[in-house]
Amino acid sequence: MEEQLEQLNFDFHKEQAKIVEGADEQLQIKLGEFAGPLDLLLFLIKQEQANIFDIPIARITDEYLNYIRLMKTLDIAVAADFLVMAATLIEIKSRMLLPRDPSEEELEIEDPRQELVDRLLEYEKFKSAAQMLYERTTVEQAVFTRGKQESDENNAEVDASVFDLLTVFQKIMLRRAEEIQLEIEREEISLSDMIASLKKRIFDVKELSLLKFFEEMHSKHELVIAFIAVLEIVRTESVKLVQNKTFGDIILRKI
């Protein structure tokens, strides 16, 4: 509650950055935010209590550059826009230092600061407008409306019918089925394993129907392995193939 109140009392001006002279005579900075180079420049002009229409350009430029250096020593990334402004300031400063060309018409000499002053004035209007918006939101945050009524259309959490759920469920099941198929393939038996298991079985049961044995296989690949295993076992072990009648079942029999 305490914190909430404080937030509501948040002051547009207090939140802004300040440069304060520290006790050890080093510049210290109260970190806040300058919304941009124009914001910083306005701040420096105000701090110097200078007239915006007659900016002491040399002094302000120095202050501005000091600030940029400070940002660098504090490892704050200096946005390119701040550097552009620094260059602009230096350019204005040097133009003001140059002696005027005596051959030029005296009347039409524009103050090199004019463009900057115009931009500052324009910017300050929008800064005030931003403050007005800020004050409006602060007031508006204290106003509550009844809010949206929950309905099927606007409630994202249950914005699904039974059929949507069913569709999703079916998709999951399908994906699962595919996964199971993949697993079987991965579990496929090697030829040596097949021979070993077949051998054990024959030695246990003495007699085994080939038809039955092949029917136990799940894939073509397994069938091939099983067939090779049978041939192999007949060749190497004391096992023979017996067929009682033409086209009848073939039986593996241990001798």
Binding site: S128, L133, T137, T145
Partner: protein, 215 residues
């Protein structure tokens, strides 16, 4: 149509009932109801139905929408809203009727925000940064405004501010400007009016008014 035939049936019953000297009052009342639908509502009734509509609406309700729903002309609706607003103000209600974003909305009064927050256990939304507020101000006054135009005034890149404002639906893209680079143009949204409690954009103070503050 079914309602009408029902009424006719009742009327017939009425006649037959009357002829037998049966219940007089009830059939009469039904007849009155049937004719009443075509009669004009009293202003008090209009005020009440409008209040009910504004209460259930999710968003500010325009006079046109209300007029269409209750089948009255806009002048009548406008007058009724004024009366309703006055009623709220006069009895110092905890609610107020406000004109927001081209419509009417019932909301709480600012005085009670502490109690309401305590009850709802909510905190105010995260505040917009200085950069976002400035960018929003430029867009609000210069709309449709492009990124280069915003840069020109603010003297700093505003890309992240624009993203924040788009995420918060305070601004919307308004097509591209037919100029070099075809930059995207931005303008304020209806949500902007709602969140800043504005009737329409003309309610914003003129940008020239800020000039006096500056000098």
């Amino acid at each position: 149509m079914p309602a009408q035939s029902a009424v006719r049936r009742y009327r017939n019953q009425n006649i037959s009932l009357r002829s037998t000297g049966g219940h007089k009052t009830r059939p009469y009342k039904i007849m009155d109801l049937a004719t009443e639908q075509k009669q004009a509502r009293s202003i008090g009734e209009i005020v009440s139905v409008i209040e009910a509509l504004i209460f259930v609406a999710d968003e500010p309700l325009s006079v046109k929408t209300i007029a269409d729903v209750i089948e009255e002309d806009r002048e009548t609706v406008g007058a009724a809203i004024e009366q309703l607003k006055q009623e709220y103000d006069e009895r110092e209600s905890g609610l107020q009727l406000r004109e927001i974003a081209g419509g009417w909305q019932i909301s709480t009064r600012t005085e009670f925000h502490e109690e309401i927050r305590k009850f709802l256990k909510t905190r105010p939304n995260a505040k917009l940064s200085l950069a976002s507020l400035e960018t929003l101000a430029v867009i609000a006054y210069k709309q449709p405004a492009t990124v280069p135009e915003i840069l020109e005034i603010r003297g700093v890149q505003s890309a992240s501010a624009i993203k924040t404002l788009l995420d918060r639906r305070l601004i919307v893209a308004k097509g591209r400007k037919e100029t070099v680079g075809r930059p995207m143009q931005y303008g304020t949204s209806k949500d902007f009016l709602i969140q800043f409690g504005l009737k329409d954009l003309s309610e914003l103070p003129s940008i020239e008014d800020f000039e006096d503050l500056v000098s």
